[in-house]
Symmetry: D2
Subunit: 189 residues, 4 copies
């Protein structure tokens, strides 16, 4: 079940596997109406007040690195699966009702979202909560679909917000000026 | 270290102990410039769009039950202690700089806040993130103090938001109409 | 969607709803081969080294209070649903393979379990991790089923451990002698 | 406060800053009696049953990558600071008593540890809980010091376990054979 250390051919193959998994996850999001550009747009809005020169391309790059994380991929696959099964009427009651109406006391959608946010540390929590409340761009579209049609986006809604917030954290970690920390260390010696 | 089952006198004494701990935590918040009424106000604003008849008194009651939880009390004592020690210059560098400037990449303030929010389940996450971003009422005052004076509210800021969000969750759990869930269960039989 | 404050008849009805939900969750566990007594046994083993007089009945009582929590109920319904759908072959690949083989890098089962443990605070984390590793009693039976048959218990396994750990936390909070804390407060005045 | 995109000289300087921060954290652990080798030993014991060829050097490499994460560094600095301040008698009551006796209902030490474990996803939870219970190697030494002397290791104890568990997760993510996942994807097309 485990690979041997130093087996170069197997790692080569593992890297290819990881690319395939990444492509699958991106396709699943697309199949549910979410393009990476929609998510990158939310990340850009979250971060450009702190980093005025931030480009859309940089947001996309950080978003891609979020989607390469295995735990993020597994969360997306699981959440979307539950949404789809709820739409198809394959979930038993009362869970079916909770998913199909985005029931406010359900909470497991937030639990899954948190596991995405945590990948870049807790500084993403605030951004996640904020976008989950104000529902910018694609999030409003997903949210309205739940109310008006048979589409179920109970998990997807939070997942999109969590990915956008995680990418914002990744950008913050990359671009924040950390020289103050170092000055403080040096001063204390 | 453990009490014996069925020892009534000891439980009587434990209840008194718990009251004393509650009073201490409320006093510590007060000493740092935060009245329960300030927090209840945030909770009221978060929930009255869903529950128009919600009163300030009800918010206060739910807030008190949040503050009776031991994990919430321990988080408050720990966070305030770190703020106070940072003000007094008793924290070593570079942690001292991070606390005294509310350094954006620190993240441990959000970690502690999350442990408060979690007490009433993950539905509080969104409200916490939202108030941490828009900083209503007392939170704006605490936040501005950090910028302009020697006061350090790096932890208190997030703790206040987390307590307000937890009380909002408690209210949502209490007042949300759950009859739909039951209808769904009955329909499925 | 929200109840009015002070509407006694509606709360009466809500309490009945909550009883029905509790019964449903207990029945779902039973349908998957888990009796409350199996879980209480794990809790008893975790706590009796600290509290030698602890009875099985007390463990059952605390377990019941864990199962009355809405977030715990929602987690159980969601996890068992995924296990059942995986057994029935209704989950798409590669998620189906991950669930049916209890794939080690999946991780979402631990994420859901954590949301149960958190209900009684983080002191349950250690107990959860421990039982998830040593798999006492019913947990070993659930785990072996996954290997040998078509049964899928990827989520149930962790859920049982999390409930047992949460009940152990509840007992620890109830029976730990807290007088030392109070002495410390009084000494400091 | 933010760096400009594409400013190569500043990133060069940021990389040097990150090295300095890493060295500081390793030194703090050393000052408290914990060598990286002590932690790597725990990681090796956790993982070698799954990966018989795993070497001590590989464990050290993964451990170093854990310690390069900013959230892990901030957690270590905060936890050790609280331990040291408790030893020096600079913490107010009742928090001082809780830290100096490693009080079982405190819980904030587990909260901080969880933020370390989460960096490599929730699969580390089980390993953390397990080592926190059985206390292998250096963890037993730290734990006994708390009982017998004036040393306070309430946070350090859990931090060491969390770092060892996170490194074990990192190894599991790196070496687990993922070809089954890819076969499942391909089969489903």
């Amino acid at each position: 079940m485990y690979l041997k250390e130093g087996d170069a051919a197997m790692y080569e193959s593992k890297l290819q596997d990881e690319r395939l998994m990444y492509d699958l996850v991106v396709q699943r999001l697309k199949d549910r109406g979410v393009e990476l550009e929609d998510i990158a747009q939310i990340t850009l809005e979250l971060q450009r007040k702190f980093l005025p020169d931030l480009t859309f391309e940089t947001c996309l790059l950080h978003l891609e690195s979020v989607l390469e994380k295995r735990e993020v991929q597994n969360t997306i696959l699981t959440g979307i699966e539950l949404d789809v099964l709820a739409e198809k009427g394959l979930i038993s009651e009362p869970l079916s009702m909770m998913l199909n109406t985005d029931y406010g006391l359900y909470g497991i959608d937030e639990v899954l979202a948190l596991s995405i946010v945590n990948v870049y540390g807790s500084i993403g929590l605030t951004n996640f909560g904020y976008v989950d409340k104000v529902k910018p761009g694609i999030m409003a579209i997903l949210d309205s679909k739940t109310e008006n049609s048979k589409a179920c986006h109970t998990f997807l809604d939070d997942i999109v917000g969590a990915i956008a917030a995680a990418a914002a954290s990744s950008i913050a970690h990359r671009y924040t000026d950390t020289s103050k920390v170092i000055e403080a260390i040096k001063k204390s010696r």
